[in-house]
Amino acid sequence: MTVRSALLQLLDEGPAHGYQLKATFEARTGGVWPLNVGQVYTTLDRLVRDGAAAELVPAGTDAPEPVNGQRTYAITRAGQAELAAWLIGAASEQAPPRDELMTKVLVAVGRDERSALEVIDAQRAALFAALQSERRRQQARTEPAEVLAHDALSGRLEADLAWLDRCEEHVRSSSSDRPHATTSRRNP
């Protein structure tokens, strides 16, 4: 659905053929989402079937014949309406209830404090290492789309790390007999 709408956006900027669409999509998304050209053509076929796009017929011909093997596509009014609705609609990407990190940690949080913290520490170290390597590579990037796309990815790692901190707080506050270095904080 996201690829379909993104291709409509590109067609709204002017007619294009499959390879152009693939290249422009990848550049606009900062290289974080490589597309298979087969997927581009399948999506274009569906857009044509649904009346959202049409194949351009070269002047003087009756049937849509590929010119130099490249078929050119254009957006239709129905396609523009679909695109407008998609751009302002709330992002409907499924929340990740089956996200691997979330599941690992939630399963561990239900166990004793020590095993829960072990899992939280290991996941935190892995996320931090990923964030560090994002940071190092980001310093070499100059292409705005690439910088922004990777900003989105590191922002998610930062959010996951902040969530692990909340999990840790929960584990520690709900553990009644935790061993700690302080001796004066016991409840009276």
């Binding site: 892995a126 931090f128 290492a129 964030l131 560090q132 590191s154 930062e158 902040a162 270095a181 302080t182």
Partner: protein, 254 residues
Amino acid sequence: MTTTSTPATTPPALELVGVTKAFGTGNTEVRALAGVDLTIAPGEFVAVMGPSGSGKSTLLHLAAGLEAPSAGRVVVAGRDLGGLDAAALATLRRRHVGVVFQRLNLVPTLTAVENVSLPLELDGTSSRAARSEARDALDAVGLDGPLDRFPDDLSGGQQQRVAIARAIVGGRSLLLADEPTGALDTTSGDQIIDLLARLSKERGCAVVLVTHEPRFASWADRLVRVRDGALVESAAAPPASPPSAAAPPAEVLV
């Protein structure tokens, strides 16, 4: 013969050995740090994280010589702080340790360059030489324009740069930064942390950054967490491997 030589002549920038810091006594004793070991190499950039009250700031105060440990040793640039009298400690701090806080602590009645040259002048450097070193430090933090302006006439990010210049002036070997981005927006914060990373690499000045934001910690070479007064080092985990065909026969644990 191997060519691996270790620079044995350069001591770690900071070494904590079995450091404990307790406040209060008897039943009301609180141990902010309990038997902490930490070694930071010259030029290393280490981020310290942990929940509030975990002992992060105590760690920084001990490293700065602002507080003495209840047990254990704090060694800065090869000198054990415990063996120094007040005057020697003050001198060691001025020459080797720079501190940057969230609040800027610049002297409002002194210009940027005067703020930075102050610690050198206090240490007996002539005013002329101190100004020259101060200009070098301000240049290193990317501030070469508004040298004669007063702190109030500078932006938050510029003021923090002046504070960092003051902390590194004279080629100090250890920079301690306690939430230096706390008063800044994300972009200025990024620039300040980027600057700290650059100073650690280019000037060989070890940096200890206390922060609660993973974003800023990610510039560091190493992450250390403080939990209940103890240090938890983050070692990167191996990638999860799927169960392999060569797995041992199933054992049921009851």
